[in-house]
């Protein structure tokens, strides 16, 4: 790039990347997609998937492309939102790299494939990462922590929880999403009433799903509402 833009010697161009915190729920656990880095720096260390933003794409398009390339996931089907920008000049040993972190949520996603500069990609249980200090590359531990808090908090006042479910979902499934993400049991009957009284959260279909044992559950689809009013707060909640 030419430098007809800058007017001071203190200014220089930066590399801009996107990093993705992709969450899903598998086997009753909240999982995040990690890669094992196949290039320096931090060779061999776990990291969030991501890569350089290309010349003619928006940041969001870059995130969608990385989602596809590094994780083999079709991003048009899942929820994707920007988390924030991380630009400490010392966050990357190679020089100034500003990264835009994105948060992605999807229903039980396929086993990922390794990408270009990743040895392999895998789902890691969040509970495990939070406890011990699994040393992620760069400042990815901080990004992951912010992403987690964002997810937990967004469940309270938006209908984003449905992003963890397939197109057709039961209220139990939706409740399980809340329980897994918040790490807290919820009262099934109260949860049910809350959701159904929130107009536009879900809309019922005439179909049913049959559990292994027990009464069949009515299937719902996502509704039009995004903001929940009143919100569904994770308070002291139900006895754990």
């Amino acid at each position: 790039m030419d430098d007809w833009l800058k007017d001071s010697a203190e200014v220089e161009a930066s590399w801009v990347t996107v990093d993705l915190a992709i969450f899903t729920i598998r086997s009753g656990q909240l999982m995040v997609l990690l890669i094992e880095r196949g290039v320096e720096p931090f060779l061999g260390r776990p990291a969030l998937p991501g890569g350089y933003v290309q010349k003619d794409e928006t940041l969001r398009e870059g995130a969608l492309r990385e989602l596809r390339e590094e994780a083999g996931i079709d991003g048009t089907k899942l929820h994707l939102e920007q988390l924030g920008a991380y630009g400490d000049p010392r966050r990357d040993p190679r020089g100034r790299v500003v990264t835009i972190a994105y948060l992605a949520l999807g229903p039980d996603l396929p086993a990922p494939v390794g990408g270009t500069d990743a040895r392999r990609a895998y789902w890691a249980p969040v509970s495990q990462l939070e406890g011990e200090g699994t040393a992620l590359a760069f400042d990815h531990a901080a990004i992951l922590a912010e992403a987690l808090e964002q997810v937990r908090s967004k469940l309270e006042y938006t209908a984003v929880a449905t992003a963890f479910c397939g197109e057709l979902l039961t209220l139990s499934e939706l409740r399980t999403v809340y329980e897994v993400v918040w790490g807290q049991q919820l009262d099934p009957s109260n949860f049910r009433r809350k959701v159904l009284n929130t107009t536009g959260f879900v809309k019922s279909t005439r179909e049913q799903r049959f559990p292994h044992t027990g009464r069949p559950a009515v299937l719902y689809r996502r509704g039009d509402a995004w903001l929940l009013n009143p919100p569904l707060l994770r308070g002291t909640g139900h006895t754990v």
Copy 2:
């Protein structure tokens, strides 16, 4: 910067800027700081203050520096938080410029001075900008809109409203902040109870402030709490 980083011809370095949406309350109105651009592009058009991030500063430090340089404001005294990154490749006619938007809130701030590439700086009433389509430079109208929604929503579930007040504040002042930002009257007595029942929102002092007429008000300081639980929701609220 060398290009030992990139591995594809599709990748190129970007200029990174910070832009600031600085809000304050003056004469009973929510105001945002705008500059009149003194350089191309968008010469003469109103814009949010901002500028290039320098070599060895974090994004936040860049925002604080621009706050000082472009608005003559000591940023250590006010609330500053990141809003998000805007990186559409067409947002700046000169080329790829990714901007990190910051949101700043402060008590009745001084009349600003023009900065380096601003002809002048001034406080503009938000109500005026929202109505008509005052054509801001770049994508600053979108940034401003998101900043506004962020402020309004953060008042609900954080104690950020105190950032609009001085060190010592009365409950009426605090209520006025909510009323001005939300554009909605609140019941003084209910507001009072809410705030005082939220532990850590404010702590009382023994001092008083005397209005022009009427009973003197007790002065409070900011408390330690940041999250409000339960939140203070702008619902249908009090009759307007």
